[in-house]
């Protein structure tokens, strides 16, 4: 089973398609979650997913926009896509019928009865 961050990273890479690389994935994850994504978390997770065979990476040609530096391109494998699908379905199943308000619960009274 994937972790939450692993799932976010895989799906960001799938959405970006041929343009999936470190900085773009990071931006996509930050935009989706509203939370900061550190480079350390990003690249160690990319390494872990690659070692599990869920994605593959390679270095692109250097670009001027990046000061003549290469990108680490990312591509999700079929296995990675399948794992992401399993994760999503598990979350969807367990979330089914859940009320997102606390209206059903009785308020707790503080003080004298």
């Amino acid at each position: 089973m994937l972790g939450e961050f692993e799932y976010l990273l895989l799906i960001a890479a799938v959405r970006l398609g041929d343009e999936a690389y470190g900085a773009a994935i990071r931006e996509e994850v930050e935009r989706a979650t509203g939370r900061r994504c550190s480079l350390g978390a990003l690249y160690t997770t990319v390494d872990r997913l690659e070692s599990k065979g869920l994605l593959e990476t390679w270095l692109s040609e250097p670009t001027a926009k990046r000061g003549g530096r290469a990108k680490r391109m990312v591509r999700v494998t079929a296995k990675g896509l399948s794992e992401a699908k399993d994760f999503y379905e598990a979350i969807a199943r367990i979330s089914q019928g859940v009320s997102w308000t606390l209206g059903g619960a009785k308020p707790i009274r503080v003080g004298k009865a």
Binding site: L39, R66, G67
Partner: protein, 248 residues
């Protein structure tokens, strides 16, 4: 100033990763202290990943060295006091009650050395050398302090030939299967019973047994790389990929 720090700290990364990270930060327009923190975080994660196999190797090495030294001496003493008098006497003499003891000791000596081999990551030859060095330290110390007249000082080195054999074997084959590791740990714990002492259980025996159970935990955590005799050396339990899945 922050960008200079980024350039400086990122030199601790691999050349390829260094260029990728610098490029990512430039592209994102991230040149402030956040970039410094990011690069520092990545460097720390990489360094911790490199340290893990060393820590895993050093822990069992120190404990294991003391144990196998003790077992070496124990085997020698038992042979000297119980087995040799019988062998040198008439062949018709019945075996002493204590014959189970040397058998247990031999089994423990072999077992603990066997535990040492799978814990060595074939990809970390430097860690293996350090492990061997750490195992020698207690040997040297005990060799200097040895004062038993009835047993040769060389008995301490009884563990060396099998240790060398196991070390070579550990570097050339993959690690032990989960079920075999569990059985080995159970057997070693069981055969430790005769050495618990006259007054009952000797508690420190339990405390120093953790390398056996550490090996069991590793074997169960990475069953895909297990199996004596298979040539696979991938997915080492000491590799940095074994961390949790969150971004913490």
């Amino acid at each position: 100033m922050p960008w200079r720090m980024v350039m400086l700290v990122s030199t601790l990364l691999d050349p390829d990763e260094r260029e990728v990270v610098r490029g990512d930060l430039l592209e994102a327009g991230d040149r402030g202290w956040r970039a410094v923190a990011d690069v520092l975080g990545l460097v720390l994660r990489r360094q911790i990943g490199l340290l893990r196999p060393w820590l895993a190797a050093c822990g069992p090495a120190l404990v294991g060295a003391l144990l196998v030294l003790g077992f070496s001496l124990s085997v020698s003493c038992t042979y000297e006091y119980q087995v040799r008098p019988v062998l040198s006497g008439a062949l018709g003499v019945t075996l002493p009650m204590g014959m189970a003891l040397p058998a247990c000791h031999v089994l423990m000596l072999a077992g603990w050395l066997w535990i040492g081999a799978p814990n060595i990551d074939p990809a970390m030859r430097r860690a293996a050398v350090v492990t061997a060095g750490l195992m020698c330290l207690p040997c040297v110390f005990c060799f200097g302090q040895f004062d038993l007249e009835s047993v040769s000082r060389l008995s301490l080195l009884l563990c060396l030939p099998p240790a060398i054999w196991y070390l070579a074997r550990g570097l050339s084959v993959a690690r032990i299967r989960p079920v075999a590791a569990t059985l080995l740990a159970i057997v070693l714990t069981a055969v430790s019973m005769p050495t618990w002492g006259d007054d009952g259980l000797w508690i420190p025996n339990w405390a120093v047994s953790w390398p056996a159970w550490f090996m069991v935990a590793l074997a169960w955590r990475h069953p895909q790389s297990a199996g004596w005799g298979s040539a696979s050396t991938t997915a080492s339990p000491c590799a940095p990929d074994a961390a949790g899945s969150g971004p913490a």
